[in-house]
């Protein structure tokens, strides 16, 4: 691995300052949390920031005090620090109780070792796992001007929202956060800004190189979850090509606001099928005001994939995503 220096940040603001100082000094810099993605990128000599060099300096966010906590808000929501590990997030009692979809998503990530090191913010901001990008091809994600999957091996690529790059967002927790209508607190040199989870991610047609709006010197510091309604229930389901330790071929994060047996409103977000967490409003609309039957769940699944477009080798993802939605909605709505 290329040599680099480590700088421990004691606050998010200090982290931003340290990053700026390195950038102004002509050094390339990356923020690091658990490092499970970043160190792999560095070992493979894949740059984390398009147009940049492999980092000379890593600014360590895990030394920022309190950034690994879940803090309940007075209204019943919660603020979750970006440096909480996925393992701690999945086991947190408040998260399991009120925001189950997020706990289930966190516990479905990768392997036990990765979950004990990897963080919430790191999982949200991980780079794509497209085999072309990870193997040094000069694709859009590496600052080039071609997506090799289009004429190549696209078994794991996008069926929604693709073009010009067809990567999929690999995060399991990201669809859960969008489904929960989370807000992201981003800290940068100009101060902080808060934006909705849905506005954080960007499609390749908006910005082919980046997966989100973060600038090089900005940090995803924490996530805010609004208070759940009294009838809220939620679940995450992930389909993989083996039983453990891989990314989603297709996943669904489903949040239902129920009044007895009737769905007041629904949010359904797919993972592993699009360059961003992919919300399916047409499918959500079918649920509003209705009691969930097997027939309705089937229609919701069909509506969820109505806009999908298969590439040459990933048509299997369409029925897969349809059934993931159908089953997750039916199981969640009809469970006691």
């Amino acid at each position: 691995m290329k040599a680099f220096a480590n700088q421990n940040a004691r606050s998010v603001e200090e982290a931003v300052t340290l990053a700026q100082q390195s950038l102004q000094g002509g050094q390339s810099v990356s923020f690091v949390g658990g490092g499970t993605d970043l160190l792999q990128l560095m070992k493979d000599r894949v740059v984390n920031r398009p147009g940049s060099e492999l980092p000379d300096v890593l600014v360590n966010l895990k030394t920022v005090g309190g950034l690994d906590q879940v803090t309940p808000s007075a209204q019943g929501g919660a603020t979750i620090g970006g440096m909480i590990t996925l393992d701690a997030l999945s086991q947190n009692a408040l998260v399991r109780d009120r925001f189950r979809v997020l706990a289930e998503a966190a516990e479905s990530v990768a392997s036990p070792q990765i979950r004990k090191a990897g963080t919430l913010a790191g999982n949200v901001c991980q780079r794509p796992w497209c085999w072309y990008f990870r193997n040094g091809f000069q694709c859009y994600k590496a600052g080039g001007s071609v997506c090799y999957s289009v004429r190549g091996e696209n078994q794991l690529h996008a069926i929604f929202g693709g073009g010009p790059s067809y990567i999929v967002n690999p995060s399991d927790v990201a669809p859960a956060l969008v489904a929960l209508d989370a807000s992201f607190r981003v800290v940068g040199p100009e101060g902080e800004r808060t934006l909705s989870a849905a506005d954080f991610f960007v499609l390749p047609r908006q910005d082919a190189e980046h997966e989100n709006v973060l600038a090089d010197d900005e940090v995803l510091a924490s996530v805010e979850l609004p208070a759940p309604g009294s009838g809220m229930r939620s679940a995450f389901h992930k389909e993989m090509d083996r039983e453990a330790w891989t990314h989603a071929l297709a996943s669904a994060a489903v949040v239902l606001d129920m009044d007895g047996g009737v769905v007041r409103s629904a949010r359904i977000v797919l993972g592993g099928v699009a360059p961003i967490p992919w919300r399916v409003p047409e499918a959500e609309a079918l649920l509003a005001g209705n009691r969930v039957t097997p027939e309705l769940a089937r229609a919701v699944g069909a509506a969820a994939v109505a806009g999908a477009r298969a590439m040459s080798k990933n048509a299997y993802k369409i029925p897969l995503a349809r059934s993931v939605v159908e089953r997750t909605v039916l199981t969640l709505a009809t469970s006691a």
Binding site: F4, L39, P112, Q113, I114, W245
Partner: protein, 168 residues
């Protein structure tokens, strides 16, 4: 850029160590190349295969993607630290008796993941064992004999087999 070095203090298999290593070293590189503990394997070296798994403050940890600074002041147990002077760890005994190691490359990491599990859960279910070992790849055994061995070790420890190494 020349490689800066730093002094890292950590406890490895019960011994306090103070070691000067390049800042960009991983914990695995520190164990293998600065401390000579080559039991932990450098397999994929990217956190995929689990062969580098060590126990860091009780938790199974991928030492190949753990920057060495993360281990400052902490306690590491590697496969070399599982046995006592007198006897192998019950897991090592059970792996032997059950034929749970073939080529052996994954074995140090699997032993560490399993030892961390048995520290937390004395009588794990098959599902808990599978989950605990989900991040450790074995291409020889098909896992069945590994699961059998972990169950056998758990039973032996419940029946009083002693764990005398640094993890005990």
């Amino acid at each position: 850029m020349s490689a800066a070095t730093e002094i890292v203090r950590l406890t490895v298999n019960g011994d306090r160590q103070e070691v000067g290593v390049p800042t960009h070293f991983t914990l695995l590189e520190t164990l293998r190349y600065a401390l000579g503990l080559t039991g932990s394997k450098q397999g994929c070296d990217k956190g995929d295969c689990g062969a580098c798994t060590v126990i860091l403050d009780g938790e199974p940890t991928l030492s190949c993607i753990t920057p060495v600074w993360e281990a400052e002041g902490r306690t590491v147990t590697t496969v070399e630290g599982l046995a006592s002077r007198e006897a192998p760890h019950p897991l090592q005994d059970a792996f032997d008796l059950n034929g749970a190691a073939q080529c052996g490359f994954c074995t140090p990491g699997i032993l560490c993941s399993a030892a961390a599990l048995l520290e937390r859960t004395g009588d794990p279910t098959r599902e808990q064992i599978k989950e605990a070992l989900a991040g450790n790849l074995c291409r020889c055994t098909g896992y069945t004999k590994i699961y059998d061995a972990v169950e056998a070790a758990a039973a032996a420890m419940q029946n009083g087999a002693s764990v005398g190494g640094a993890s005990g």
